[in-house]
């Protein structure tokens, strides 16, 4: 995690080598080129304004995916567990903030000023903390006791926790999708013929701030260093005096903070939330994490962005019924052609 240099050096691992590797690479490039060509013809058909519009939406979608993917990749990097409940923590962020917004005195169609921005910030902070507490409790209850159990046991509890959270949200808000208060001002700017709303800008800025903050934290802080060490070799880290339990809990905490922020921004931009929102978003975000090289935080951020681009472009130019198929096909192809992801992943050792 974080160790990009090391990951890239490992990328040319023994998994693929020589001619087969090169042939697979060529196959991947041919596929990408074919897709780009097809996309190009559609893009020309629809004109440049539409392209730019789609691109702006795609960046916002990708940012949200990136925030969720970061949590997956950090948790996988440190304990090699696919945290199925992570997507539901994201959905919980959306639900919790939907209730917090009126509680903090924000309402639809109000006048915006410095104080309202503070109110929104407070919503962000409280939601992120709630998600973090939730995720850390999940780790404490369902994963920590099973750290020495067979590998599949924590996976099943993760699935169980995912069901539990979905069930809790189902109980809370019922089966149909609920309205999320549309509090952001209805302002928009026109850039080169495409509309950019406050919603998109909020998502971009928040994501950039969070991801840069995370990168600095992982690279510079003591705890970040401990997390990198634990991800690399848990035993050695423990022998060096690192408190493993605390470090792992911190990883879950940070992952949930990011997912919570993603949940709020999802709600703010789409103004709807449903109890099983976390399932599909989680799958896509997980794909993004794999795409970028699981265990690698920069990879997850870029993977989220790329998947947001792919999905939004596909929805914009092709039949959206196929967009999930495309995303998962990409997932499979990435693993077949480039098993280390685009930036390289920590190869788990047995």
């Amino acid at each position: 995690m974080g160790a990009v240099g090391e990951a890239i050096r490992r990328r040319r691992s023994d998994l693929r080598s020589g001619l087969t590797g090169r042939a697979l690479d060529v196959g991947l490039y041919v596929l990408i080129l074919a897709f780009l060509f097809l996309l190009g013809t559609r893009v020309i058909e629809h004109g440049p304004d539409y392209l730019l519009q789609i691109f702006f939406f795609a960046l916002a979608n990708g940012a949200i995916y990136a925030l969720i993917a970061l949590g997956y990749t950090m948790v996988y990097g440190i304990i090699e567990l696919i945290n199925f409940a992570h997507g539901d923590v994201f959905a919980f962020g959306a639900f919790a903030s939907a209730s917090l917004i009126p509680l903090f005195g924000l309402s639809e169609g109000q006048v915006w000023g410095p104080f309202t921005i503070l109110q929104l910030l407070a919503v962000f902070v409280v939601t992120m903390l709630l998600c973090a507490v939730l995720n850390v409790s999940i780790e404490r209850i369902a994963y920590r006791p099973l750290r020495h159990a067979p590998r599949l046991a924590p996976l099943i509890t993760a699935i169980g926790m995912s069901f539990f959270l979905e069930g809790a949200m189902f109980l809370w808000k019922g089966p149909s999708s609920v309205h999320y208060p549309d509090v952001l001002p209805d302002l928009s700017f026109t850039i080169l013929g495409a509309r950019v709303g406050v919603k998109e800008i909020t998502v971009w800025i928040t994501t950039i701030v969070l991801v840069v903050g995370l990168a600095l934290f992982i690279d510079r802080s003591r705890l970040g260093k401990a997390m990198r060490a634990t991800a690399q070799d848990r035993d050695a880290a423990q022998l060096m005096g690192i408190d493993i339990d605390r470090t792992i809990a911190a990883t879950f905490f940070i992952g949930a903070v990011l997912a919570g922020a993603g949940g709020i921004m999802y709600g703010l931009s789409y103004n709807t939330a449903v109890f099983d929102l976390g399932f599909s978003a989680g799958l896509v975000a997980f794909t993004a994490a794999v795409f970028g090289g699981i265990g690698n935080i920069y990879g997850a951020a870029i993977g989220g962005l790329v998947l947001g681009l792919i999905r939004t472009f596909w929805d914009g130019y092709f039949d959206s019924a196929w967009s999930d198929v495309v995303i998962f096909a990409i997932l499979i192809m990435v693993l077949v052609f480039r098993p280390t992801g685009i930036l390289g992943m920590r190869v788990p050792e047995k």
Partner: protein, 403 residues
């Protein structure tokens, strides 16, 4: 007599620690129709039909057990092969092809489709597995997850071929070329040709026969050279390769066999339900089967069968009946007010219905926390766990010494 039995029991080198469980399961399977008709007072059809559906899950669990339990490969998209098996039957054993661009129909008999579906599903397993099985660890889980998401969506979206969300209905009924009518069905004794299997008892019998075949097959596989190779790979892939096990080939075979079982189950499922729809093969099916395997006790055949029956009971019988049960209890103890919706409270029946996910999640977490090795694990696995062969022993020794 008893002495002889004891001697055989204790000295037979092929003695299987699970023999008693198999024996009990067999007796249970034979007596179940009788039991069902006694309990329901002579109309066992519903229970038998449910048992047939449960059998589908037992079959799926047996197959996934080969992949996950024996070879140690995590498959998160097992339902894809189930779907492929079911759609294979739907395509070649119904009138459906007439409404596709092919404009003809095929009516291949059920028994032959069982084999065809087996090979089709296994082929897909090989196609998916060949490029990905050389990868390590969880990559396979991720690839299968993706595949499991793709397959139902493809069936859903290619509606000119598959009728999309509506699915394909009116699939053929399994048929025996020759069968006997007699007093047991209330007819005079006679030979019937092209006997169609309509009643749940017929499906139940087919299911039991399929299960017996599969259990024998899986058990023999586990004790074969390949089974030992799988166990070696599961425990340590590098060591297995060093000992001369062709790991890619062995993993591919496990994967293909698992897929074949799933295809098998899919065909039966399609025939029994007489309908296939993409909605029936989602991620939740894959997860349910995986949960059955892990919860029952990975790698142990009776364990996973028990696990699948228990989970089936919980998911498809106990939880769906929960709202009615709770409502009737509330009525019985005089809290009729609770059964009405008031304000945000939707009434206790609906409330219980909404609790379903939550309870199931809770059960999964609790059972795994209490018995991470599963309910009925194989003997070797239990020993491994209690002896603690995990990596952190050094650290724990150090901790013990330093206090």
């Amino acid at each position: 007599m008893i002495g002889w039995f004891r001697r055989v029991w204790e000295n037979d080198p092929r003695k299987d620690p699970n023999a008693v469980v198999y024996f009990l399961l067999a007796i249970f399977a034979v007596l179940f129709p009788l039991f069902a008709s006694v309990v329901t007072g002579g109309s066992p059809n519903f229970l038998l039909s449910v048992a047939g559906d449960a059998g589908v899950y037992v079959l799926l669990t047996l197959g996934l057990n080969v992949v996950v339990g024996m070879a140690g490969l995590l498959d998160l998209g097992y339902a894809a092969f189930f779907a492929i098996g079911a759609y294979t039957y739907a395509f070649i054993a119904s009138d459906h092809l007439a409404v596709t661009p092919l404009q003809t129909t095929l009516h291949v008999p059920f028994w032959i489709v069982l084999l065809i579906a087996l090979f089709v599903a296994a082929s897909f397993g090989v196609i998916l597995g060949a490029p990905t099985l050389r990868l390590r660890g969880d990559y396979l889980a991720i690839v299968t997850l993706g595949f499991g998401e793709i397959v139902p969506r493809v069936f859903k979206n290619t509606s000119t071929w598959t009728s999309g969300v509506n699915g394909i209905s009116a699939l053929d009924t399994p048929e025996l070329p020759i069968w006997f009518k007699g007093p047991w069905s209330g007819d005079p004794l006679a030979v019937v040709q092209n006997f169609k299997i309509f009643d749940p008892l017929g499906y139940y019998v087919i299911m039991v026969v399929l299960l017996v075949i599969c259990v024998v097959l899986v058990r023999n596989l586990q004790n074969s050279r390949m089974g030992r190779a799988w166990a070696a790979i599961r425990e340590d892939e590098v060591a297995a390769a060093a000992m001369g096990v062709n790991t890619v080939q062995a993993k591919l075979l496990a994967f293909a066999i698992g897929a074949a079982f799933s295809g098998f189950a899919g065909t039966f499922y399609g025939a029994k339900l007489s309908l296939v729809s993409p909605e029936n093969f989602g991620f939740s099916v894959s997860i349910t089967v995986l949960v059955m395997v892990v919860l029952g006790g990975m790698g142990n055949i009776p364990g996973v069968m028990l696990g699948s029956l228990l989970i089936y009971l919980v998911i498809f019988m106990v939880l769906p009946s929960l709202p009615d049960t709770v409502t009737s209890i509330a009525n019985a103890i005089g809290l009729t007010g609770l059964t009405q919706a008031s304000g945000d409270f939707p009434g206790i029946g609906e409330f219980a219905a909404r609790l379903k996910f939550l309870i199931f999640g809770l059960i999964l977490v609790l059972v795994m926390l209490l018995r991470p090795q599963g309910l009925l694990p194989s003997r070797e696995r239990e020993q491994e766990l209690t002896k603690g062969t995990h990596d952190d022993t050094i650290i724990e020794d150090v901790q013990a010494e330093t206090g």
